[in-house]
C-alpha cells in the first residue's frame, strides 16, 4: 500500500498534536490530570499514524511516551524530574517529523510493525544506493613519515580528490603545497555525490599512505517549515456559503446575458451592481477562510524559547495571551521570523539572568496588536543616541533633535546593532531593520517602548487583512505607479525655484532639513515630463535617511488589494507587488526602500 500520499496529512496532523503537547508542558501551571490525559491522547494519536506510515523509531518513542504518561496519569501529576525527559522526547519527535518532511519520496524507513490482526505491510522500495543529492564530506589523509617528496604526493592526492566533487576547503592549500616541504597531512572538505568513505578506504591501502578517512558532515537542518500549513482547515458552513454565493452569481450572469441580448441597458446596470455586491461578499468570505489563529505562529515559540534559555543559561518564563486571535495566513507567515527575532533579542539583550517574556495579542479597532514585553534591563535612549552618533548614522544635531521615543526606534536603523560581535542568536542579518521592513510590507507598524531597569515592550500593529493596502498613485511620464502609503512620509509640491544645490546634489528645504532629491526618471530609465514650474516630490526614508523622489504628479490615494508578483518579475529590485485598477489596468507597486540607492553626499547632482 502506498503510504506516500498520506505523508502530507500525517505531517500536518502529527504537527498539530506536537504543538498541543508542547503548549501543555510549557505553560506556567503544572500539568494536572486533564493535561496528562491530553498529552497521552496526543502521543497515542501520533503513534498510531506513525505506525501506519511505517516510521518505526517514531512509533517506538510514542509508545514509550504513552507508557510513561500512563504512569503519571495514575499519580495525577508529572514529577519535576521527568519534565526534562519529556521535553527531549518532544524535541526528538519534532526532529523526526522534520526529517520525514525533508526526505525524498520513497525513503520511508523499513517495514511497519504489523497492526494487530491486519495483514503485514509490504517492504517499501529501497532508496538509491548513491544519493543524487551531493553530500558534504570531510577528508583527512596522513602520509607515512618515510614518504619521499610528501608535498608533491599530497598535491597529487588533492587533485585526485578534487576531481571527485566540488572542493570547498583544502588545508594546506595549493599554494602551500606547491612551495614544498615537510607537509604530511591533508584535510579537505568537499561536496560530492560519490561515496568518499569507500574511496578513502581504498586509498588507505596504498603504499605511502598512513591513513585516509572520510566523514560525512551532518547536513544543516532543513529550512524551517512554513508557519502556516499547506493544507488548511475550513469550516464546513464556510464552504456552503461559498457555494451558495457562487450559485447566485451564476444565476445573475445568466440574467445579465439575457438582458444584454434584449439590450435592456438599465436592467443590466442594476444586474451588474448586484453582481458587484456578490463579488465583494465572495471576496470577503475567501479572505475570512484564509484567517488562521495566532497560535499557528506562537505554538512553536515555547520550544524555541526553551532552546534560547538553555543556550544563554538564563531562566525565562513565557506567557502568551490571545492566541485565538485570527489573522490572515500570509501575515502570519510574514510575522514568523520577525516575532522570533524580537523574542531572541528579549532573551539575548533584555533579560539578565532570569525574567519573563509575555506575548499578548488583541484587537485594536480594525487592527491586531501583538505586544512582546520583557522585564529585563530595558533600553536607555541616551545610550542609543550615543551609539548612533558613534556609528556615524546620525550627525550631532540630528541626534540632539531626537525625542526619547524616537531614540528607541534607532535600533531599527540598519547598521545599528548593539552587539559588536555577531552572536549566534541574534546576529544573523535579520536585524531590527528587517523586522520593521517586514512589518511595513504587510501594512503594519512597529512601536517600541522601554524603561531602563524595568523592561521593554515591542508592539506590532497588524492589519486584519494583508491584501488591502492604501496606495498613493503617482504619474511619471506615461506611467502610472503606486507606492504604499505606509512607506511615504508626505507628498509635496514645490516650486522649481525652491530647489537648491548643496555641493554636488540638489536638495529641497523641508521643515528645516535639507533633503536630497532623487530622480525617479534616472532610476527607471525613463525621461521625465518636460520641466514645469512645479515639482512633485514624494518624501520617503531610505536606510534611515530622508529623500525626496521626484515624480510628475499625484493621482490620489486608492485602497487596493495587492498581489505579490511571481517570477521572474519579482526579482526586479524595488518592484514588489501589483494590483488591478478598476479600469482593468495593471498597476505596479514600488517599494522606495528597495528602489532607491542610499542617498550619498557624493552622488552626482540629480537634474529632475
Amino acid at each position: 500500500m502506498d503510504m506516500e500520499k498520506y505523508r502530507t496529512l500525517f505531517l500536518q496532523e502529527a504537527g498539530t498534536h506536537l504543538q498541543t503537547m508542547s503548549r501543555l508542558i510549557s505553560s506556567d501551571a503544572p500539568c494536572g490530570a486533564a493535561g496528562i490525559d491530553a498529552l497521552f491522547r496526543c502521543a497515542h494519536s501520533i503513534k498510531g499514524m506513525a505506525a501506519s506510515m511505517g516510521y518505526e523509531d517514531l512509533t517506538r518513542l510514542c509508545h514509550e511516551l504513552e507508557n510513561r504518561l500512563g504512569v503519571f496519569r495514575g499519580g495525577g501529576s508529572i514529577p519535576e524530574a521527568a519534565m526534562g525527559a519529556l521535553e527531549k522526547a518532544l524535541d526528538f519527535i519534532e526532529s523526526r517529523l522534520e526529517a520525514i518532511a525533508a526526505a525524498p519520496a520513497g525513503a520511508a524507513s523499513a517495514r511497519a510493525p504489523a497492526p494487530e490482526g491486519g495483514p503485514p505491510h509490504p517492504l517499501p522500495p529501497h532508496g538509491p544506493a548513491e544519493s543524487e543529492q551531493p553530500r558534504l564530506w570531510n577528508l583527512r589523509i596522513e602520509l607515512e613519515p618515510t614518504e619521499a617528496a610528501p608535498a608533491v604526493r599530497l598535491m597529487l592526492l588533492q587533485r585526485e580528490i578534487a576531481a571527485r566533487g566540488e572542493a570547498i576547503e583544502t588545508r594546506p592549500d595549493a599554494q602551500t603545497l606547491a612551495a614544498g616541504g615537510e607537509l604530511r597531512s591533508l584535510h579537505m572538505r568537499l561536496r560530492s555525490t560519490l561515496d568518499l568513505a569507500d574511496f578513502c578506504a581504498r586509498l588507505d591501502l596504498r603504499p605511502g599512505i598512513r591513513s585516509a578517512e572520510a566523514e560525512q558532515e551532518v547536513q544543516p537542518p532543513p529550512a524551517p517549515p512554513r508557519t502556516t500549513p499547506e493544507l488548511v482547515r475550513v469550516r464546513g458552513e464556510m464552504l456552503d456559503r461559498l457555494l451558495d454565493l457562487a450559485t447566485e452569481m451564476i444565476a445573475e450572469r445568466i440574467r445579465l446575458q439575457e438582458q444584454c441580448r434584449k439590450q435592456e441597458v438599465s436592467e443590466m446596470a442594476a444586474g451588474l451592481e448586484s453582481l458587484g455586491k456578490q463579488l465583494r461578499r465572495l471576496h470577503q468570505d475567501v479572505i475570512d477562510a484564509r484567517m488562521m489563529p495566532l497560535s499557528q505562529l506562537t505554538a512553536r515559540l515555547p520550544r524555541q524559547l526553551r532552546e534560547l534559555a538553555r543556550k544563554t543559561g538564563k531562566e525565562v518564563r513565557l506567557r502568551m495571551e490571545g492566541e485565538d486571535l485570527m489573522l490572515d495566513r500570509s501575515i502570519l507567515d510574514a510575522m514568523s521570523d520577525p516575532l522570533m527575532h524580537i523574542l531572541r533579542n528579549a532573551v539575548d539583550h533584555g533579560i539578565e539572568e532570569r525574567g519573563a517574556v509575555s506575548i499578548r495579542a488583541c484587537r485594536r479597532g480594525d487592527r491586531v496588536l501583538i505586544e512582546v514585553r520583557d522585564d529585563g534591563r530595558g533600553m536607555d535612549p541616551r545610550h542609543l543616541r550615543a551609539r548612533a552618533l558613534k556609528k556615524g548614522l546620525l550627525s550631532e544635531e540630528e541626534v540632539q533633535a531626537l525625542s526619547d521615543g524616537e531614540s528607541l526606534m534607532l535600533i531599527c536603523r540598519p547598521g545599528f546593532s548593539t552587539a559588536d560581535g555577531v552572536t549566534d542568536l541574534s546576529g544573523r542579518g535579520v536585524g531590527m531593520d528587517a523586522v520593521k521592513a517586514a512589518l511595513e510590507k504587510v501594512g503594519g507598524e512597529l512601536r517600541i517602548e522601554s524603561r531602563p531597569g524595568l523592561g521593554s515592550c515591542f508592539s506590532l500593529l497588524l492589519p486584519l487583512s494583508a491584501a488591502l493596502v492604501q496606495l498613493l498613485l503617482v504619474r511619471f511620464g506615461e506611467l502610472l505607479l503606486g507606492f504604499p502609503v505606509s512607506r511615504i512620509e508626505a507628498g509635496l509640491k514645490v516650486r522649481t525655484g525652491e530647489v537648491r544645490s548643496q555641493g554636488a546634489r540638489l536638495v529641497i528645504e523641508h521643515r528645516g532639513e535639507a533633503i536630497p532629491l532623487l530622480s525617479l526618471g534616472k532610476i527607471l530609465g525613463q525621461a521625465p515630463a518636460a520641466g514645469s514650474e512645479h515639482l512633485h516630490l514624494l518624501l520617503t526614508r531610505v536606510a534611515g535617511r530622508r529623500a525626496a523622489l521626484v515624480v510628475d504628479g499625484f493621482e490620489g490615494i486608492r485602497e487596493a488589494f495587492i498581489k505579490p508578483l511571481s517570477a521572474p518579475l519579482n526579482r526586479i529590485a524595488g518592484l514588489s507587488t501589483s494590483t488591478i485598477l478598476g479600469s482593468g489596468e495593471v498597476l505596479f507597486v514600488l517599494d522606495p526602500q528597495e528602489l532607491l540607492p542610499v542617498p550619498n553626499p557624493q552622488a552626482a547632482g540629480e537634474t529632475p
Binding site: A148, A149, A151, V152, M155, L156, A178, G180, P207
Partner: protein
C-alpha cells in the same frame, strides 16, 4: 588493457630494473629512450599508453621532454622517476602535467601501484 610502456632513463641499470618489474607484471615495453630528445621522438612515433621518465638526463631533461610531449598530447600519462632529494623538480614536473612519480631505488610494490592505477 592499456599496458604499452616507454621507459626513459639515461642509466642502463635503471632501465633494466624497471623493465624486469614491468614485464613480469603484464606490461609491454614498446621502447626505451636514453635522453629527453629520444623520449619525445619515441613517444610521438609509438604513442605508448604510459611513460616512465627520469628527470636528470643529458641533451634534454625529463621535465622539458614532459612539457613537449604534453604539448603535443595533453592526454599523455607520464610518471616521473626521481632520485631522493629532487623534490622541487618533481613538484615542477607535476605542475607541468606529470600524473604521478616514483622514487629511486624502486620498490616493486610502489611501481606497480602507481602504474596499475594509471593504466
Amino acid at each position: 588493457m592499456a599496458n604499452r610502456i616507454l621507459i626513459v632513463d639515461d642509466a642502463l641499470f635503471m632501465r633494466n630494473m624497471l623493465k624486469d618489474i614491468l614485464t613480469q607484471n603484464g606490461f609491454e615495453i614498446v621502447a626505451e629512450a636514453v635522453n629527453g630528445l629520444e623520449a619525445v621522438e619515441r613517444y610521438l612515433e609509438l604513442r605508448p599508453d604510459l611513460v616512465t621518465m627520469d628527470i636528470v638526463m643529458p641533451l634534454k631533461s625529463g621535465i622539458e621532454a614532459l612539457q613537449e610531449i604534453i604539448a603535443a598530447d595533453p592526454q599523455a600519462r607520464i610518471v616521473m622517476c626521481s632520485a631522493l632529494g629532487q623534490e622541487s623538480l618533481v613538484m615542477e614536473a607535476v605542475q607541468s602535467g606529470a600524473r604521478d612519480f616514483i622514487v629511486k631505488p624502486f620498490d616493486e610494490n610502489r611501481v606497480l601501484d602507481v602504474l596499475n592505477r594509471l593504466a
